[in-house]
Symmetry: C2
Subunit: 486 residues, 2 copies
Amino acid sequence: MGGKPELLSRMAAGDGHGENSSYFDGWKAYDENPFDLHHNRGGVIQMGLAENQLSLDLIEEWSKNHPEASICTAEGASQFKRIANFQDYHGLPEFRQAMAQFMGQVRGWKATFDPDRVVMSGGATGAQETLAFCLANPGEAFLVPTPYYPGFDRDCCWRSGIKLLPIECHSSNDFRLTKEALVTAYERARSDGIVVKGILITNPSNPLGTTTDRATLAMLATFATEHRVHLICDEIYAGSVFVKPEFVSIAEVIEHDVPGADRDLIHIAYSLSKDFGLPGFRVGIVYSFNDAVVACARKMSSFGLVSSQTQHFLAKMLGDEEFMAMFLRESAARLAARNERFTAGLREVGIGCLRSNAGLFSWMDLRGMLRGEKTAEAELELWRVIVRKVKLNVSPGTSFHCREPGWFRVCHANMDDETMEVALDRIRVFVRQHQRQQAKAQRWAAKGQLHLSLQRHAGIASQYHALSSPMAALLSPRSPLVHAAS
Amino acid sequence: MGGKPELLSRMAAGDGHGENSSYFDGWKAYDENPFDLHHNRGGVIQMGLAENQLSLDLIEEWSKNHPEASICTAEGASQFKRIANFQDYHGLPEFRQAMAQFMGQVRGWKATFDPDRVVMSGGATGAQETLAFCLANPGEAFLVPTPYYPGFDRDCCWRSGIKLLPIECHSSNDFRLTKEALVTAYERARSDGIVVKGILITNPSNPLGTTTDRATLAMLATFATEHRVHLICDEIYAGSVFVKPEFVSIAEVIEHDVPGADRDLIHIAYSLSKDFGLPGFRVGIVYSFNDAVVACARKMSSFGLVSSQTQHFLAKMLGDEEFMAMFLRESAARLAARNERFTAGLREVGIGCLRSNAGLFSWMDLRGMLRGEKTAEAELELWRVIVRKVKLNVSPGTSFHCREPGWFRVCHANMDDETMEVALDRIRVFVRQHQRQQAKAQRWAAKGQLHLSLQRHAGIASQYHALSSPMAALLSPRSPLVHAAS
C-alpha cells in the first residue's frame, strides 16, 4: 500500500491532535466511574468539560412556546420539505441574517455584522480548521498566546499541516499578552526560518476566563497590519462575559479604534456551543472581513454545514431579539453567581483563582501545593492525585501549554448547584488535609525532629506514588477523601 | 504574508474543486432565471441536481405522527437538554444503532453492520474527504472508473492533496468496469511513478444509474487484496434501486463471495441525502472494516458531526423498521415510475438512455445530435444550447470525466410530475426541430443543392454561435423553443 498514510501514523503516535495529553486522559477516569448525584456519589466529577448547562432551561422553554420553529411539529411541518431538501452551502438566508444580527447583539451592538460574511462550519472546531486551510500552507505557523485551548493542536494543525508557536505569557501580569512577548515569538520564528502567517487569540480566553482589553486588541490589529500577518480571534465565549470589564470584539476595534487596520487580515471564529450550551447542534461560524477568505471558506463549508433542521430552528430563535436579550442577561447572572460561589468557596481554604470575568471555568492556582521543584512533572503528580483520589477531572495547565506549573482549569458550569458543592467540598477537604500535613511537617522540622518528619511525610508520598499509575488508582479502594466530601 | 496560501490560489484558479466546470456553470443559468410552474414557466428547469423529492411527504407524515422524535415538541422536550448538550464524537448510541440496522435493511438484510463501525461525517462530501485523509498521503492516488461524480475532485482531492486517476470505461459495454481497464489504469499510474492507494467506485453509479454486478465487485475485492490497495465503495444510492437487478453491496460480497478478501482494505461511504432526500440534514457515514481507519475517521468526525437534534430525530425514524420497509418499497415504486415515464417520453423522439435500475437521473445519449466531429467541444456547444435555449440545466458528460462526447446526465427526481412533463416536452420539441432541420439538409444535399443547404444550415449555426457566450444567451430574447414547450 506504499506505506502507512501519514495521518493514520501520526494519530497512532498521538501527535497533532492532543489525544495523548492529560487533558484527555482525565476523561478516561471520568468515563470509567462518572459521578451521579443520586446513584454514584463516589464517582469522578467531570470538571474538564467547558460546557454551559446553566441556562438550557430557557431555550427549552422557548422551544416549547414556539412549535413553529421546528419542522417536526404540526405547526411547522409545512416547511419540512423545503428545509430537509435545502443544501445550498450559503446556508438558509434567514439563518445567516439572524446569526449576523445576534453576533451584533451579543457584542452589545457595538459592531455590525454582514450576513454575507457569515460562513458555516462544523462547530468552532471546523471554523479553526477552515481558517488554517485558507490562510496558511503546510509548515507555516500561527502564533498563539499561552496558555491556550489544547484542541487547537488538532483543529488547526492535524490535517492542514500548519504549526502553532507559543507566545509565552506569565502570571506576573495575569497572563496578559504584551507586545514584547509577541515580538519575541515572532522574531524567534523568523530566525528559525518559519513563515508566520497569523496570530490566533481566544477572547475571552479559554482557559483564563479573562477578556482581552481594547489596547491589546488595537496593538494586535496594528501589528498584524504592519507585519502582514493574519489575526484570528476566537470569540466563542463572547456571550459568556458575566461581569465588567465588558467584552470588546476585534470587530469593534477595527471599526472604531484602529480604522487603519487592514481588514483583509482580520477573521473571527464564533459558535453557539459555549454561549448557549448547544455543542450538539454543531454551529460554528467563520466571519472574515476578507472577501477571498469568505469565498474559500464558503466552499469548504461543504464539509461542515449545519443541519438545515438546526439552521431553521436557530434562525427563529436568534431572530427573537427580545428573548435573546433576556437570555444573555439571565445567562450572565447565572454564570456570575456560579463563578462567585466557586471562587469564594476556594478562598475559604486559601486557594486563589485568576480574577476572571468570562467563561465557564476558573483558572485555579495550586502552585503552593506542588511537591519539591515546581516542574511540569510535579504538576502532573498533583493532577493525578486530584483525578484519582479527589475524583475531580480538572485539567492541568501543562495541557494548555502553560509554562508555569501549578495552574489548573476547573470547569463548573457543566453541573447543577449541588454537584458543584460536592466538588467544592472535595477540594476543600483535600486542601485542608494537605495543609494539616504541611503544618505538622513544619512543626517537626522546627523541633529538629527531621527523621520523624520524613517518616510521616511518607504518608503523603505513598499516596502520591500509588497514583502515578492510572491502573493502580483504578484498583485502589474508594478514596476516604471522596467519602468525606460526598 | 509569505505568499498567498496555496488553497486560496487554487480556488481562485478554479482548480481542485470542480467550480469552473460546466457542471456548476449550468447552475448559474438556473439561479438567474429559475423555472416556476406557476410564476415563471419560461425559466430554466433544474435537471442538474441529483435530489430526491419524490417521497419526502412520507417522512413529513411520519414526523407529524411522531412528535416524540423531536426535542422541540411538548412530547419530546424532556430530551432537549441531554440532546443539545451532547457532543461525543461517537454519536448518540441510539443513532449509530439505528443507522447500522437501517444499513442492513436497505441492503435487503444480506449483510450486517456493526454500530461501532458507524462513523459520522458531514454528508457524503465529508465521508469521502475523511477517507482520503485516512488512506493516502498527498500526491498518492485513487483510481476511479469514468464517468464519475465531479464533486469527488473537490471532496477527495482539494484539501487532502491526493489525486484521482481515471479508469476509462466505454459505451460499448454500457460503461461497465472491466478488469482490463482497471489493470491498464493501475499499470499506467505505476509507470508514471504515482503510488495508487485505492480504487473508488460508486455503486449504484452516479451518473449512470446502474448497479455494479456481483462478479465485478468480487473482482475488485480480489484485486484490492492482491495489490494491497484500498477499495472505497460509495453506496449513497443503495436505497434508490428501483428495478432488478437488485443492489449488491460490497459488504455482502466480502461476507459471502470473497471470504479471502482483506477486510482492512474495504470501506463504504453512505449518506441519507439521496435515498431519503434529506441533503439538508448533512448525514454522511464512513463505514470501514479496518479498525485503525474507524479510529482515525472518528477523530476526524469532530470536523463534521451530525447535529444531535438531527441524530435524535433520525434515530427514532430509522429505528422504525416497519416504516422504513414501507418507505423503501414506496420510494422505489415512485422512482421506477418516474424513470419509466421520462425514458419512454424520450424514446418517442428516438432519444435513448443507458438502461438503468437505480438513481435519480438518466444518462441520456445525444451523440447523434453533436455537430461535426464528435468532440468535447461539440458536446459543450450542444450543452450551451440546451441550457440557454431549451432552458434545461442538464449536465454534460465531460463534467463527469466521460471520454465519449454526447452523453448527458438528466436529473428528474427533484421535481413534481408536471414540471417533469414540461421538461420532457422541451426536449422533444428541441429534438424534433433538430430532426426536421437535419432532414431538410439531407434532402437538399441529395438534390445537389449544397450551397443552399449551407445557407439554411446557417440558421442552426447562428443559433449555436449566439449561445457560445453565456452573456449573449442571457441578453437574447426568450427562446421560442421554451414558449413552444411551456
